[in-house]
Symmetry: C2
């Protein structure tokens, strides 16, 4: 992984073998900042595009552009572009090189770190994908300036999570951020560091890496369910809801103290905005959770908090227990 | 890789986490030979099924069966099932275990050996796929008995190729086979050994593994072109044509002697049956060859024969040169 200050420094990473993948937004706001002109593939923006249809569009276009095994795909965008682009490159002609240039806070602290890629299948998140060791991530904080403010919360949610599962101080430092302002580079770096600590020790997610899923078992279900409705809930917002629900479960069925739960509630509650439309139907959510990739034999597995800054993976909960977490969430609608 | 004699010995490889993938034929003739009853996924037979639509059917069915990361996909079939099944398993939930149980001669000596998997995309062969280290191949010669005799030629062509590129004696031993009879286990083993010699030394196909593509640059183009016509030409038959054409190119533009070419012609000619309908339109074939995965920057790269039993990879030829090889083939229609 490399840090650069300005997109012009990308000239040493790009050459005539590079092909750029963008969504409609990054094609408009980020692609023009690149220091040389390169072939461009554009797909529609948004999490709904993270599917096999988009992959097929990318593969067709790669063929059309004459991409061969010397080619390199430059994934310039948020989490969707990084996840989908890395997957497309990894299977095109049995694998071409790719680089991730995350442009969103979410992608910088999460999607572009740790080598997971994938796309959604049917209504299930990241059901098709790979662990891919050979990726190259370049963090250029300048791109963040192009990101609409309302999307910062998506990355911010993951940063709070890094604090919650590993570093209490980081959680509190993040909360002290001035509301609506972009987190400083020091906080972004700390989040990347925490994510790498988990992914490098457990690349294939057999153990501690699963702790990064805190908030995501309920969160992914909320996100997936919202795909079917009019008001789609973004990943970060869904994860905030998920963390709140799973913090409650950590208190009720694991060792998180009442005080710690209260601190988490106080920290997250102000961030939950305008979600009177959120669908908290337990049966619909539970059905989705039953397809969570971390499950073992129909048993939903959670990563829960031991305390603020410490987590534990592989904790199974029963349907009734999970339901109590969803009921708790209903208070915050 | 493991050799067993009878399908009943499979009981030590199968358990309640196993899910079997078959095509319609192996579901009828091979699946019933398994020593325990297991969930079954069936897709239509034939190379035309080796595409993303079939993958989506497999992934949907895996979800329906509740497959999780403990599950193992048992690919019971010919090359298509092995290639497609390994790919499906490798990306489902970012990879579940799989075993290959090749039932055809072609799959035993080729598709199930060496860790390549993939599916066709648009009209291009194996354009989406992976190199997958974690496969487990079990060769059970008994399954061959279920294979229609007219399909033996598919595997036989690859066995001849192994001889041509690496072992002159093996080529001649294969030719001495009684016509229409199944090659003996010793010949099958020798072919597997030759394939492994190439794939183990060069897993990612950066060098000598490309020699296994002898006959396949022209062969794949003939096979792909036939997909668009009424009379589909099977892989092995297409490879026989391809080897003949590329042997001619090896003589004309590389170091294969006239005598060696004559031996190859004498060996292969009797195997080319009933192909008056074969489409040898150079422009259509060349257009397909330009999409060959081994190409570098629009230059078609061949593996050619130095002499009987010895090959060399990465040899570029010009369009006019390749055309002379196709014209040569027209004599044998």
């Amino acid at each position: 992984m490399q840090f650069i200050e300005h997109p012009r420094e990308l000239s040493s990473f790009l050459d005539q073998h590079s092909i750029v993948l963008c969504d409609q937004n990054t094609a408009e706001y980020c692609y023009p900042l690149l220091p040389l002109e390169l072939p461009l593939i554009v797909i529609p923006a948004g999490e709904r595009s993270k599917n096999l249809d988009s992959c097929q569009a990318v593969w067709s276009k790669l063929m059309e552009l004459g991409a061969d095994r010397q080619s390199r795909l430059i994934c310039l965008g948020g989490g969707m572009i990084c996840d989908l682009g890395a997957f497309c490159a990894s299977v095109y002609q049995r694998g071409i090189e790719f680089s991730l240039l995350p442009t969103s806070l979410l992608a910088m602290v999460d999607a572009a770190i740790g080598g997971k890629n994938g796309v959604d299948f049917l209504e299930h998140k990241n059901y098709l994908g790979l662990f891919s060791q050979n990726q190259n991530t370049i963090i250029c904080a300048d791109f963040l300036e192009s990101l609409p403010r309302e999307q910062w919360v998506n990355g911010y949610a993951e940063m709070l999570k890094h604090g919650l599962i590993y570093d209490k101080d980081h959680f509190q430092d993040c909360l002290r951020q001035k509301e609506g302002s972009l987190p400083g580079l020091n906080l972004i770096n700390r989040s990347i560091e925490i994510k790498l600590k988990h992914t490098e020790r457990d690349f294939k997610e057999l153990g501690i890496r699963k702790r990064l899923n805190f908030g995501h078992t309920i969160g992914h279900a909320i996100e997936s369910l919202s795909f079917k409705s009019q008001t789609q809930i973004e990943h970060g917002m869904a994860v905030l809801w998920g963390m709140l629900g799973e913090a409650y479960l950590s208190h009720k069925y694991w060792s998180l103290s009442k005080d710690d739960l209260q601190q988490i509630e106080n920290g997250i509650k102000p961030l939950l905005k305008q979600h009177e439309n959120i669908d908290l139907n337990f049966h619909a959510l539970y059905k989705l959770m039953l397809k969570d990739k971390k499950n073992l034999r129909d048993q939903v597995q959670f990563a829960l908090l031991n305390s603020l800054g410490s987590a534990q993976e592989n904790l199974p909960l029963q349907a009734e227990q999970i339901e109590s977490g969803i009921r708790y969430l209903a208070r915050f609608k």
